[in-house]
């Protein structure tokens, strides 16, 4: 009688314990794998988004400075463009700081330096009323130097994002 009570489907209690253990372990294993994979996917997706934003900034700068070298922009165009880019670079820096604790403001600082240098140049001010501004070769060289420094900073930022660890911080308002 005792032996029959302990048996179900021809298996003893110890067998059922073993089976249950296998099932529970498998479920936990699958759950961990799925959860980790989801987090990795989310993390990678977010990093790719930020890296694409850095690449967009690089492309926008390249296109804008090409126009500037070819004397195709006015002083007002330059002023407007810099203000829009100030907002974009600052927003990126804020999110990178919040998400990955990347402290410095490489892009914002270099962008500000370029903005201040170009809008202080004699050609910018003397040709302010003209439809387009023609920069001298000396000024173009100065801009080129700053542009290549910005490119380095943008590359550094991609490296920073790629190697950053998530803070896993919960933002109540976001």
């Amino acid at each position: 009688m005792d032996k029959q009570e302990l048996m179900l489907c021809g298996l003893q209690v110890s067998d059922w314990i073993g089976i249950t253990e296998i099932i529970v372990t498998s479920v936990i294993g699958i759950w961990i794998a799925v959860a980790v994979q989801n987090n990795l996917t989310k993390s990678r997706y977010l990093k790719e988004y930020f890296i694409n934003e850095v690449k967009d900034i690089r492309d926008l700068y390249k296109a804008f400075l090409n126009q500037l070298y070819k004397s195709q922009v006015s002083a007002k165009d330059i002023k407007d463009w810099f203000k829009i880019m100030s907002e974009r670079t600052r927003t990126l820096d804020i999110f990178l700081h919040e998400k990955y604790k990347i402290e410095n403001s490489l892009i914002v600082q270099k962008h500000a330096e370029i903005q201040q240098t170009i809008t202080n140049m004699d050609e910018f001010n003397d040709d302010y009323k003209k439809k387009t501004i023609t920069f001298t070769n000396s000024s173009k060289n100065e801009i080129l130097k700053l542009h290549s420094e910005l490119s380095c900073d943008l590359t550094q930022r991609v490296i920073d994002i790629n190697s950053a660890k998530n803070r896993w911080k919960v933002h109540k308002n976001r």
């Binding site: 002083a75 007002k76 002023k79 407007d80 810099f82 203000k83 100030s86 907002e87 914002v108 600082q109 500000a112 903005q115 201040q116 240098t117 809008t119 202080n120 910018f124 001010n125 003397d126 302010y128 009323k129």
Partner: protein
């Protein structure tokens, strides 16, 4: 107790601030200094009030505009007086505050001490300047058109 201050919103002067000098274009830094900033600062200074200058609103700035406007202020009133009375606000582009406070103020104070007069590209009406000898403000045409 609420701190007493007066304020200037640059967007009220121009939605599109211009270049450095009057001869270079409309709404220049030179023009803004002579039409707005000099008088406002003198009044705040004499009444011992803070003057808040808000940079937000316009479509963007040339660094030369801000340098000429705030630089002339330091030239006419001295660095210490300007620093103790002016508060610059810029939520949109806070980098301008750093430029003005760390570069413009310092460079124009050196210029003031070296007596290197600013360039005036048009004839301006008399404007205010602090006289360090008798500790008072005086109004006259200090520099003619160069």
């Amino acid at each position: 107790m609420e701190e007493q201050k007066v304020s200037i919103v640059i967007a009220d002067y121009s939605k599109s601030p211009g270049p450095r000098y009057c001869r270079q274009g409309d709404d220049s830094g030179e023009d803004f200094y002579h039409k707005v900033l000099n008088e406002k600062f003198k009044n705040a200074f004499e009444q011992k009030l803070e003057l808040e200058v808000n940079l937000d609103g316009p479509d963007g700035y040339a660094s030369s505009f801000l340098d000429e406007a705030f630089g002339n202020l330091v030239f006419d009133f001295g660095l210490e007086n300007v620093q103790s009375r002016i508060i610059i606000v810029s939520n949109e582009e806070p980098e301008w505050i750093e430029m003005i406070e760390k570069e413009t103020y310092v460079q124009w104070e050196i210029r003031r001490k070296d007596k290197q007069n600013p360039t005036k590209t048009i004839d301006h009406e008399a404007w205010w300047r602090f006289n360090f000898a008798n500790n008072s403000t005086e109004r006259q045409i200090w520099i003619n058109k160069n």
